[in-house]
Symmetry: C2
């Protein structure tokens, strides 16, 4: 099995709030947008981040009710501490809630913040001086 992820799909109770945050607020371009069902955004080469209406999510898994999301975080790495601050400001203006304001992390020289989207999806926005992505997409930790 190749070491490759094609989709990350998150159960989401309010797709209108998702659209307002990612598409309208952040300017992300949906790959597919089916109101009341799913919204997909490409989020890395070959990788799609999907938001799937929480009741449909459970139905697809053969379960009743609405799925709730827990135990997952997403991260967005940027090139500088100023870019962390600027990104957090953009996310807050789009309707995100800042739970950890931009600040140094506990180790490794990281500088980061946590912002929650309108459905409770936790994003870490981070500058990690030891992190780099090569031309071919290879990730390195320094």
């Amino acid at each position: 099995m190749d070491q490759r992820l094609s989709f990350v799909t998150l159960a989401t109770p309010d797709l209108d709030a998702t659209r307002a945050f990612y598409a309208t607020g952040l300017g992300w371009q949906p790959l597919i947008d089916v109101p009341g069902e799913v919204i997909f955004f490409q989020a890395a080469p070959g990788l799609v981040l999907g938001f799937f209406e929480a009741t449909s999510f459970n139905r697809d898994m053969g379960l009743d009710g609405a799925a709730s999301l827990s135990g997952v975080t997403l991260a967005h790495n940027v090139d500088s501490e100023d870019a962390v601050r600027a990104t957090v400001a953009v996310m807050e203006a789009a309707g995100g809630t800042v739970s950890t304001p931009p600040q140094p992390g506990d180790f490794g020289g990281i500088f980061h913040a946590h912002v929650t989207d309108p459905n409770g999806v936790i994003w870490e926005v981070a500058h990690n001086p030891g992190w780099s992505v090569a031309e071919d997409g290879t990730v390195r930790f320094g």
Copy 2:
């Protein structure tokens, strides 16, 4: 904010089982492996899939106890129905549990299966004839 995901991190109670499944069983190469804390695997260009010990996950979020994972699925797309069957066999041999055997999906000509890893992480393995990834990593649905 760029339309870009750098990490997907999942709370995981048993990192030894995670290592046995992904590294030993599937042959994935860890980017970082800190026993009892985290294991990271690169899973797309510029994108890392992280498994974070569930108690540490909650502590980082300022919560007590161990985080549990719900409301998220991962997907691995392959080029043919036979590749779905072969991938599912490899995942099962590595210790995964098949909850949906390889079969046609409800729409779009998709052929897929669901396999759960030893910590309950749900993977869809799918062949979708309308899905393609261009040379530059752009995803297209036909």
